[in-house]
């Protein structure tokens, strides 16, 4: 009896370890592959010879990316939009979630429904587009110019990135703060804003870190609306739009089979790169790596919080 139990447990353990190790490697492999390809020579990348390690390594792809001004303009745009956008979203989400967590708030269920309804039903892409266009025109007018000439960064910062799930995560976390502490602060003469900043925020650090991470990441990663709202304002593009545009125009991965053999030689020759050494795909990989680095830098530090913060966040028992 005992013997049989141990065998089944052992087999299960082995299967578990193998499964998890394989899946974990699969999750990391594409990034390692991209890194290796970004250092490899044109022919090796183009013919798919690179599997794990760089072949005939060189750093030209990074030289290309580092000297590509428009890439760094869009990089700076993304940094700006992610930083300001996250702060803006956090300000109204923190205040709103605090108000919603109060039982004495009049019409509390109504406000919650108001929020949750946006998770159930959205107007759709086209109505959203029309709405954003109007907003963009108003913002352009406020800035004293025409929509087409203006950079629409503020439209993206102000109007996008709201997320009802994040509000609910924060609200639930605030509801967990004991009422006595709030009472004590109130007796000491604290106003609502002071209670929020001095009591609630320090007591919900894990959830706040999680929510800020979610906002920041969705800002950093946003593609569709930036592409849709400013197709021609190239100097306002975030880096995701720039990368995808580069892929569409030069790489031949998605479109233009006739230009399959060109591999964007034009732009590289123009900038004095040897196309027999530097393939356009290596440039794409180098851009991907550059765009991923900020997330890789922040992620391990916040990773430990979000397992705690996310758990069943939206569920009301």
């Amino acid at each position: 009896m005992k013997r049989k139990m141990e065998t089944s447990e052992l087999i299960f353990k082995i299967v578990a370890y193998v499964f998890i190790i394989v899946f974990a490697l699969m999750c990391v492999y594409p990034f390692i592959y991209a890194l290796s390809c970004s250092f490899s020579s044109a022919a090796n990348v183009q013919e798919g010879k690179v599997v794990l390690w760089p072949l005939a390594p060189h750093g030209l792809a990074y030289k290309y990316v580092l000297t590509d001004n428009r890439f760094w303009v869009s990089y700076a745009n993304t940094l700006f939009m992610a930083a300001v956008g996250t702060i803006w979203c956090m300000i109204y989400t923190l205040m709103g979630a605090y108000a919603l967590s109060k039982k004495r708030l009049l019409g509390r269920h109504g406000w919650n429904f108001f929020l949750v309804f946006t998770m159930w039903f959205s107007a759709g892409i086209v109505p959203q587009y029309l709405n954003y266009s109007t907003t963009g025109e108003i913002l352009a007018k406020l800035g004293g110019g025409e929509y087409a000439d203006m950079d629409q960064k503020w439209l993206i910062i102000l109007a996008m990135g709201m997320n009802a799930t994040n509000v609910i995560l924060l609200r639930n976390s605030f509801e967990g703060v004991p009422a006595e502490i709030e009472e004590a602060a109130r007796i000491d003469g604290a106003t609502e804003m002071q209670i929020l900043t001095k009591v609630y925020i320090p007591m919900s650090k894990a959830t706040i870190a999680t929510v800020a991470l979610f906002f920041g990441i969705s800002r950093w990663n946003g593609y569709f609306w930036a592409m849709r709202m400013m197709p021609n304002q190239k100097y306002s593009w975030p880096v995701q739009v720039y990368i995808r545009n580069f892929i569409d125009l030069y790489s031949g991965l998605v479109n233009a089979p006739d230009e399959y053999s060109i591999w964007g030689e034009g732009i590289q020759v123009e900038r004095g790169f040897d196309t027999s050494v530097l393939g356009v795909l290596s440039v794409v990989y180098a851009m991907v790596i550059c765009a991923v680095i900020p997330i890789l830098c922040i992620y391990p530090f916040i990773q430990k919080y979000f397992a705690k913060g996310v758990n069943m966040g939206g569920v009301k028992e």
């Binding site: 205040m95 108000a99 954003y132 998605v254």
Partner: protein, 356 residues
């Protein structure tokens, strides 16, 4: 008099006139109790700061989540008149009739079918995976090993759709040059369906036949690890004494799984399943948009991307127009909403747990 004296401690005694009177505060409180609405009004006034804090969020949601819904009225108006939407004549359900049965019917139903198939496959393959992963994570006793593995499997969730689709496209790259296409060509030869798809100029993603499969694989790759967090929390909540009891009764590993672990995490599984069913029709359009070209469009076009296509000048050549696009996505989203509300009702009835 003696009766009144009992209340001495909270009544005010005016020594000059020798009379008792209600204290001012008590009178205000009584008044408020008698008049509930007055109390509510007072509480709003007292808590005006609290309501002020709600204002920015409500404003943001009204302006950019609720205002777009007013644009839905265009679906009931005449798209052919050149006037602004407000001045167009009402045409009732005409747009919906032409959407369902007119020139664009084939496009719409094709997109609707694709939306449903992508969502259904996502449920079928994407849902069990994180549960299995969570059960396996529980087997890893070493905290360091498990943490490292978790850091790895959560990672893809935080990458942008552009990066994820780019990596998928290059790994399945055409002419058998991506790492995966190369392996598939080597395994199956170029004559097989898989091999020839891997050998096609753009690769497997841009073939009608394999788009859905790769969409699901990348979906699991992207979300599988992260989605296991919830299930893992449920699995580690199972008390060790339950395992011990089962072991003493002679239960093997599989029996422990079946009789101890699965029943304990069942409520979490049911909740998450219902939640997934609720979001069935909200397929991420960004990913589909980025993984689509003219070759795989018949299998990849979903209602949201079709609506987007119809709203652009170059996409409206096939008979679609912006109004029909609005109508199409409205139908899709209304069905989605009914699914969410239905799923939530079922959840409340079945498990006493509701999501919203």
């Amino acid at each position: 008099m003696s009766n009144l004296l009992k209340y001495d401690d909270f009544l005010d005694y005016d020594e000059a006139t020798g009379t008792y009177s209600m204290p001012q505060e008590q009178r205000v409180r009584d008044e408020a109790e008698r008049n509930r609405w007055k109390e509510i009004g007072l509480s709003v006034l007292r808590d005006w700061r609290l309501y002020l804090m709600l204002v920015p969020m409500v404003l943001v949601y009204v302006l950019w989540r609720y205002m777009p819904m007013t644009e839905l009225l265009a679906a009931f108006k005449d798209p052919n008149s050149a006037a602004a939407v407000e001045d167009q004549t009402w045409v009732g359900l005409t747009n919906f009739v032409s959407l369902f049965f007119g020139k664009t019917a084939a496009d719409f139903w094709g997109a609707f079918r694709n939306t449903f198939i992508i969502a259904f496959y996502g449920l079928l393959f994407g849902f069990p995976f994180p549960i299995i992963l969570a059960l396996f994570f529980n087997e890893i006793r070493s905290n360091v090993t498990r943490s490292i593995a978790q850091v790895c499997v959560y990672l893809p969730k935080f990458m942008s759709t552009v990066i994820i689709t780019t990596l998928a496209i290059v790994l399945f790259r055409g002419s058998g040059m991506g790492v995966i296409s190369k392996a598939l060509v080597a395994m199956f030869g170029t004559d097989s369906a898989i091999g020839s798809a891997a050998n096609s100029p753009y690769g497997m993603i841009f073939t009608e036949r394999y788009f859905r499969g790769i969409y699901q694989i990348t979906g699991i790759w992207e979300h599988g690890g992260y989605d296991s967090i919830v299930f893992f929390a449920a699995v580690i909540a199972v008390s060790p004494t339950s395992y011990e009891a089962a072991q003493i009764d002679g239960a093997g590993k599989m029996q422990q799984m079946r009789y101890v672990v699965i029943p304990s995490i069942l409520s979490t599984v049911v909740i998450m399943l219902i939640m997934k069913v609720g979001t069935l029709l909200s397929v991420g359009y960004e990913k589909v948009y980025l993984m689509m070209n003219t070759y795989n469009e018949p299998a990849a076009q979903i209602v949201a991307t079709l609506s987007n296509k119809w709203s652009t000048p170059e996409g409206s050549s096939g008979g679609g127009n912006q109004t029909l696009g609005i109508a199409a996505e409205m139908v899709n989203n209304l069905i989605g909403m009914i699914l969410v509300i239905g799923a939530n009702t079922v959840a409340r009835k079945a498990t006493d747990v509701s999501l919203y």
